[in-house]
Symmetry: C2
Subunit: 301 residues, 2 copies
């Protein structure tokens, strides 16, 4: 099954598992709106790609890790779009959850998606229950305190912030959780995969900053020029556009160098180069909506 | 160690475990504000009391279950107090998190507490990892979709709601998760403990409705008369004060009848009668702030 189909199927199954008589229908609809139709699904693709590179032996557990990471990402987007943060009316080219369902259901949909992420992880550990504690810890550290994406978002509420720490927590942490969870779901050590996730996540965040400056709202499916409007730290504000571009390419080089020795290493590196060109093309006017990473080909590399 | 000391110590340890260099200090402070000083700690006391009645054999795991349930309860209070829900300025006699730290940090503190709850659960399963999947599933069902406390809160956003379903989800679900997690943490079957938790939780919710009508904001430590102000379903609105009182006593009788056969059963039943008199005294003017259940004596019963 192609990687994206597998991810969509696993995400659908995770929400179906918590359907049931007696559920509040508008909350269920808001959660679906937050998860479907597909975003780029970068993080779950990373989970699957790393699991394959590690000799995946428990596809249900890998699916659960991918689902957990993606549901947590979706939850963070729903809460980031709330009026008290970005107050975004659009997301992925459609109304944001808070716009479509109201602020209260957006708060609750985010909460319920966080819980659903952990429920999915617990449900899939029949074969390899011994892998669950480390998986749980890794995913939690990618999201919570002290260095996960919630902590990253909280740096926007502090009087002083170091930009790299902020971006590492805001984006790098969940990317690192994705690569590490992929390894853990296959029964392998997670540490060799941390740096790859961290650098790629930081690069994505810098690309996001660049797109916020030079991008087009319609093409990106979300508002632009928000970093200045919300007085938010960003690499383009700190280093200027040229400085941010240099930082992006430095991070993508580090990402490439961070690929561990594994059967698919050459393929991974080629994809990272491809991804760098796609995320921030040399012709900046060509920046369009982020498309999925073609990581499905890694296994064959 | 007395039960409440044990709970406070475990809660402190759970937040200390996610301290660390590089954390955003205001989020850390908001999370502490949400958890300390002590609320009534009813739910973690239930976890511990049931675990003891089941022959507790892994205190670290029981502590983790108690911590998880209480952190999730604290998270729900922080989000319930947000401007888009109750807009409460006070909680436990102090400024609410949103009042003290602002709306953005209240959203994030709630999110981070949810994650911290699951992280605590995963961290404690060294001895009995085989108990983790069921514990995780039980706690998730108490909180998430379709019937947990987040779903309960979401019924406030639906045009139509059945009051008992709403109250069962809004409060009963996490009480049931508490009793069932207590049994699971001791390696026992959870189902015999479900009804006790559900009924007691429903009774608490009805008591809360009654206190909202006849209580005093200063004594309760939170605003009163909110159900009518927020057009929220409540037992006193549906049945009147007398009807709500009758429903409360019916639920407490059912709670007493739901105590499973176990060495501490007589003590449990006596405590439930004591708790009923304390929650809703026959002299309604005597309603004061909810004090902890003295469940620490159950073991000796």
């Amino acid at each position: 099954m192609p990687t994206l189909d597998r991810i969509e199927r696993a995400l659908h199954a995770s929400l179906q598992a918590i359907e049931g008589a007696g559920r509040p229908p508008r909350l269920a609809a808001a959660m679906n709106h937050a998860v479907f139709p597909s975003g780029a699904r970068i993080r779950p693709q990373l989970v699957l790609a790393v699991a394959r590179a590690c000799g995946e032996d428990d596809p249900a557990l890998t699916d659960a890790a991918a689902v957990a990471v993606e549901l947590l990402h979706c939850a963070s987007l729903v809460h980031d779009d709330l009026p008290c943060f970005d107050d975004a009316a659009t997301r992925r080219g459609r109304p944001s959850v808070q716009k479509a369902y109201g602020e209260r259901l957006a708060v609750l949909a985010g909460d319920a998606l966080i819980v659903a992420a952990f429920e999915a992880l617990g449900r899939a550990t029949g074969q390899h229950v011994s892998r669950l504690p480390a998986l749980l810890a890794t995913v939690c550290r990618g999201v919570g305190m002290p260095l996960g994406i919630v902590a990253g978002q909280a740096w926007e509420c502090e009087p002083q912030v170091t930009l790299r720490d902020y971006q590492q927590a805001k984006t790098g942490a969940l990317f690192a959780a994705a690569t590490m969870a992929g390894a853990l779901s296959a029964g392998e050590r997670p540490e060799p995969w941390r740096a790859l996730g961290e650098r790629l996540g930081q690069a994505y965040q810098v690309a996001d900053d660049i797109r916020d400056v030079v991008g087009d709202a319609q093409a990106l499916g979300k508002p632009v020029h928000r970093d200045i409007a919300l007085d938010r730290p960003s690499m383009t504000r700190e280093l200027g556009l040229d400085g941010a571009l240099a930082e992006f390419h430095r991070l993508m080089d580090e990402t490439e160098a961070a690929v561990p020795v594994c059967p698919g290493a050459a393929g991974f590196r080629a994809l990272i180069r491809h991804e760098a060109r796609r995320l921030v093309p040399s012709d900046l006017g060509a920046i369009v909506r982020i498309e999925p990473l073609p990581l499905l080909h890694v296994q064959a590399a």
